[in-house]
């Protein structure tokens, strides 16, 4: 077939028609796409509208240089709503069921606006994504709303389990997804802490870590404080949870030479009385070296091997570990506490 024949053949006609139609359609769509493209800003505006129920103008907050990661959460994005001064924060909360949960949290600001900023509470919580969650669908919007209504500035919200344990938190809301609710509570706490830092200028300093206290791993530094008088340091310690054991609240008095003179468990985090009976309570007269020898100087939990030799009955290993750690914290930081007056703000 010569070239001339080819250009006259049906095959050529077919190819030309098909390609010209393709070209026309492609050009048409490209032009239309220019007009109709849904930009990222528009997508964001729609997401905001879903959360707010109305369209609002927002301004993105640059996160560089701000404190965005907190104990149990980190801030991913934050926006100031220009219409009413509230803040829209996207936070990822840790300690969910099989991973973390990301939420949008709307923080309501006080009526005075920018002149005298204050945090009024939480307007709304919307779950953004929760990879690895299987029961997150059990959390209804109603549960999220009632969690939002329980949130207030200056209080740590505990809508699910307590940290590191399977015990109900103070603001527990029954949903069937208590781990996820814990992560969502962390989101709310993180969002409020972030807004407090950004708008109110209050950065919740970590008193113990900033002042060089040691052995903080099992100590809830937001709920722990101490007072000093005449070489005696009186600690009020709340531990973290050590799943399945929950948090312990313990009052410890440490006297001369860092020796414990009083050790009282005011709130027992054990899961059952069977276990709380097995918690070792005879700490009077012990010092930091004794605790280090039981726990292991580097703070690793090799307690199983050392319990028996030190007269500690086992059966409540995890609870005992928390109590031992509280004692270690109190005795090892005795000198430090005497030198540094407590200014952490936990009453």
């Amino acid at each position: 077939m010569t070239a001339k024949q080819f250009f006259k053949s049906t095959a050529f006609k077919c190819i030309v028609t098909l390609f010209s139609i393709l070209l026309v359609c492609g050009v048409f769509l490209t032009i239309m796409y220019g007009f109709l493209e849904v930009t990222d800003e528009e997508k964001f505006a729609r997401a905001v509208q879903k959360i707010y129920g109305k369209s609002v103008k927002t301004e993105e907050i640059k996160l560089d240089g701000l404190k965005t990661s907190f104990d149990y959460s980190s801030v991913d994005e934050a926006y100031k709503v220009l219409d009413d001064g509230n803040y829209l924060v996207k936070v990822t909360g840790k300690e969910g069921f099989g991973g973390s949960v990301t939420c949008w949290v709307v923080v309501i600001m006080g009526e005075d606006g920018d002149s005298n900023p204050s945090i009024d509470g939480i307007m709304k919580i919307v779950i953004d994504s929760a990879p690895g969650e299987s029961y997150i669908s059990k959390i209804s919007q109603g549960a999220l709303d009632s969690l939002a209504s329980k949130a207030e500035y200056g209080k740590e919200l505990e809508g699910g389990y307590k940290h590191g344990s399977q015990q109900k938190g103070d603001d527990y809301i029954s949903t069937g997804a208590s781990y996820s609710m814990r992560a969502i509570s962390n989101c709310v706490n993180g969002a409020m802490e972030f807004v407090a830092g950004y708008a109110l200028g209050i950065v919740n300093a970590d008193f113990f870590a900033d002042n060089g206290f040691e052995y903080l791993e099992m100590i809830n530094n937001k709920k722990t404080s101490y007072t000093t008088s005449d070489n005696v340091v009186t600690y009020s310690i709340e531990t973290t949870g050590n799943s399945p054991a929950g948090a312990f609240t313990i009052t410890v008095k440490v006297g001369e030479d860092g020796v414990i003179t009083e050790y009282t468990i005011t709130e027992d985090g054990s899961t059952a009385t069977d276990y709380s009976d097995k918690v070792f309570k005879d700490y009077v007269g012990k010092n930091a070296d004794w605790f280090k020898s039981v726990i292991g100087a580097d703070g690793t939990d090799n307690s199983n091997a050392n319990y028996g030799g030190n007269g500690i009955q086992t059966g409540a290993t995890r609870s005992n570990y928390l109590c031992l750690y509280a004692g270690l914290f109190a005795t090892a930081n005795y000198q430090k506490a005497l030198e540094t007056p407590y200014t952490g703000g936990n009453a």
Binding site: L22, C25, G26, T30, Y33, E37, G99, P131, G132, S134
Partner: protein, 202 residues
């Protein structure tokens, strides 16, 4: 390994193309009167689905997305699928006339089968795939795996359906119910049975 199992279970049982997503219903109702033809159609659809994903996923991810003409995906996908089906038909005809006689006749029907375009569109949709991946990042391996097992799930339901319809042939149905209505009520029962699998928590 967890992701592998999650994708297999999702594609075959919990998110079955016919009983949950209702993709590929035309061949499901049209070619399910005999088990042999249902099997042939199922295998043909599976093969085309895997081949289509193998081509469309990289084209979309590595060519169309970077060059920012991903909005033309529908035209490109349907053309790729049509071309693939044509090529496959010719190749099978050349290599194995006997296979062509059993499977080839189903191939022309597949171009307009929404299961094939459906799987190509599904695997490029981040939101849909995320729920099966359990944290792993999406790549072509998972895409092809998903399409292969989605095809197997399709074949499975086709075979169940054809078996039931073969039995139903022995019974007389009222005139208004004969044909499609009976087939659909049968399909409804298969769907109900498959609803059990939604209780699988991966």
């Amino acid at each position: 390994m967890g992701t592998f199992i999650a994708i297999v279970l999702a594609a075959v049982l919990t998110n079955n193309f016919i009983t949950v997503k209702t993709y590929g219903i035309c061949p499901f109702l049209g070619v399910s009167k005999k088990t042999s033809s249902a099997l042939g159609m199922g295998v043909a659809v599976t093969v085309v689905m895997v081949l289509a994903t193998l081509v469309t996923y990289p084209v979309y991810e590595y060519v169309m997305k970077p060059l920012k003409f991903d909005f033309l995906e529908i035209i490109f996908f349907i053309f790729i699928i049509a071309a693939l089906v044509q090529m496959l038909e010719k190749i099978i005809q050349k290599l194995s006339p006997s296979l062509y006689n059993t499977m080839g006749i189903y191939l022309p029907l597949i171009t307009t089968n929404c299961a094939v375009l459906g799987v190509a569109e599904l695997v490029i949709n981040d939101g849909t795939m995320e729920q099966f991946l359990s944290g792993a990042s999406m790549n072509i391996g998972w895409a092809v795996l998903y399409s292969f097992f989605a095809g197997l799930g399709f074949t499975l339901v086709m075979i169940i359906m054809s078996g039931m319809r073969e039995r139903l042939n022995y019974y007389k149905t009222p005139k208004a119910l004969a044909g499609f209505p009976t087939a659909m009520v049968t399909a409804s029962f298969i769907c109900m049975a498959f609803m059990v699998f939604t209780y699988i928590q991966i």
